[in-house]
């Protein structure tokens, strides 16, 4: 991914900063600049999520394009944050330990790297709470 493309979302990726529509009181992560429910009537402000939530569903990925930062098998899940929104993220745990309903907490981790001399991507993953 281009440096600028990753860079412009850094604060959202590093710190789980999403958005909140004060018109309908809905929280968004990943962030949205337009509320899909209120559209132009929505009023959007930034919101820093606590980073606590629950696994809605998950998979253990055994086949993926080569990524030096993440070795297969790894666990990928959809996490529902306590404030409401759902996101897709890696769950750092043994594959057999992952389960639907597991409480998780966000952590700052390496997501990937382009090459030995290329960009390194950091972001949010989750561990068992």
């Amino acid at each position: 991914m281009a440096v600028s493309r990753f860079w412009r979302k850094l604060k959202h990726r590093y710190n789980l900063i999403g958005t909140h529509c004060t018109t309908c009181n809905t929280y968004y992560y990943p962030p949205r600049k337009m509320c899909p429910q209120c559209r132009r009537d929505g009023r959007i402000e930034e919101h820093w999520f606590k980073g606590e939530g629950v696994i809605v569903t998950y998979t253990v990925i055994h086949a993926a394009p080569e990524n030096k930062a993440v070795q297969t098998p790894y666990v990928l899940g959809i996490v529902q944050l306590d404030e409401g929104p759902r996101l897709t993220s890696q769950i750092i745990c043994k594959p057999d330990d992952a389960h639907i309903g597991m409480r998780v907490q966000s952590v700052f981790r390496k997501l990937g790297e382009d090459s030995e001399h290329g960009m390194i991507y950091y972001g949010t993953k989750f561990i068992q709470d």
Partner: protein, 387 residues
């Protein structure tokens, strides 16, 4: 609006076509459709081509010009348009052709779909397919395309008790059907054990739960129903054409085990055609993974939510049963050249409704449904075809 009919179809063999290029296969499919319809090239008013990612698979954009040029239609300067909605690109191309004819703007229109996937390695293909999902908030986080459907499968199992054996039953049925389809990529049957013993791709999906990487192209010719009989004794009428959208990311769906785009497209299609799911004799649905066929047969309304796995295991979707699904072998076994899939589905149903499907013929099939999905359900396209 005018009624629209399919007057000709063509489809290449599906598979790893090392000796054929992108332009070879769409010309091959197009010529077959034109000869089947008995039209002259000069009669064709417009061309629509469904393709997901030639830009990344063969580093070629501007397919509209390429297709017209190599089909010999650039010499008459016809309007040529490439359309894209990931795996639903073919369905979109068909719908654009239908709209163009129904509106009265064009008479004879060719809708094609083509994808050349094997000119890059498997890692690159996996990455291209991941672009059907949300790159910034699914792909970057480590999601592969199979992993998205694996998460649907896991929750479907958790909520409804769907089993790995029921998922495997979809693959077993579709491989069996493909064994009777000379165009299919895989023409050998597999067993439940074969599926369950194949390597895990994204748990609970095994290799044989996944559609393969395929080269292929397909084409159909559509015309106003009022003149269709001038070209063929067996026109196939398109009695509904619907397209819907939903969130691109799976995590934003209201219900992760329902493709609400499919539900909406099906409801609109049945309303348009004044039919119910029980009226459908045969269906080609989007089985990019085994779980996807189970979702499709539930979300279209053939079976209640949560009962698709059991229905498949009980044989209700086999040829000769209540609602034969994916007689071509589906994406799973006939193959899934992404942009061609939606058109291949139309070719299969047209051949079935004409009674030309050979050993996989569904007796007395008069009304067929085709269902094409983009990504994990961000786009759905449904057509209902009738004799």
């Amino acid at each position: 609006m005018r009624d629209v009919a399919i007057i000709g179809v063509g489809c290449t063999n599906f598979g790893e076509l090392w000796d054929k290029s992108f332009r070879d296969i769409f010309v091959e499919a197009g010529v077959m459709a034109i000869e089947d319809a008995g039209v002259q090239g000069e009669e064709i008013d417009a061309l629509y081509l469904g393709n997901m990612s030639a830009g990344r698979f063969i580093e070629q954009e501007h397919l509209s010009s390429l297709a017209a040029d190599y089909a010999g239609l650039a010499s008459i300067n016809i309007p040529s348009t490439r359309v894209e909605a990931a795996c639903a690109s073919g369905g979109l191309a068909l719908r654009q052709a239908v709209l163009a004819v129904a509106s009265g703007y064009h008479d004879i229109v060719i809708a094609g779909g083509a994808e050349k996937m094997t000119d890059v390695d498997t890692d690159a293909t996996t990455d291209v397919l991941a672009a059907a999902a949300d790159r910034e908030w699914e792909g970057v986080m480590g999601a592969t395309f199979p992993s998205i459907y694996a998460m649907i499968a896991r929750l479907h199992m958790h909520k409804y008790g769907t089993t790995s054996e029921q998922l495997a039953a979809v693959a077993v049925k579709n491989h069996y059907n493909a064994s009777m389809n000379p165009h299919a990529q895989y023409q050998s049957p597999v067993s439940i054990e074969n599926v369950l013993n194949s390597s895990l791709i994204a748990d609970p999906l095994h290799l044989l739960d996944c559609s393969p990487i395929t080269d292929g192209a397909a084409a159909v010719i559509v015309a106003p129903a009022e003149i269709a009989k001038q070209y063929t004794d067996t026109p196939v009428h398109i009695i509904a054409s619907t397209q819907t959208s939903s969130t691109i990311a799976l995590h934003d769906r209201k219900d992760i085990t329902t493709l609400d785009s499919t539900v909406a497209a099906a409801n609109k299609a049945f309303n348009t055609a004044k039919l119910t799911p029980g009226d459908i004799d045969i269906a080609e649905v989007h089985d990019c993974f085994t779980i996807a066929e189970i979702l499709a047969i539930e979300d279209i309304g053939f079976f209640k939510k949560g009962e698709g796995g059991k229905a498949t295991e009980d044989g209700l979707t086999a040829i000769g049963a209540e609602i034969p699904v994916n007689t071509s072998g589906g994406l799973k076994a006939c193959g899934h050249p992404v942009g061609a899939t939606g058109i291949k589905q139309a070719v299969e149903i047209t051949e079935q409704l004409r009674g030309e499907a050979g050993r996989r013929q569904v007796d007395g099939a008069e009304i067929g449904l085709i269902h094409n999905v983009g990504g994990s359900g961000g786009t759905a396209v449904i057509h209902i075809l009738s004799t």
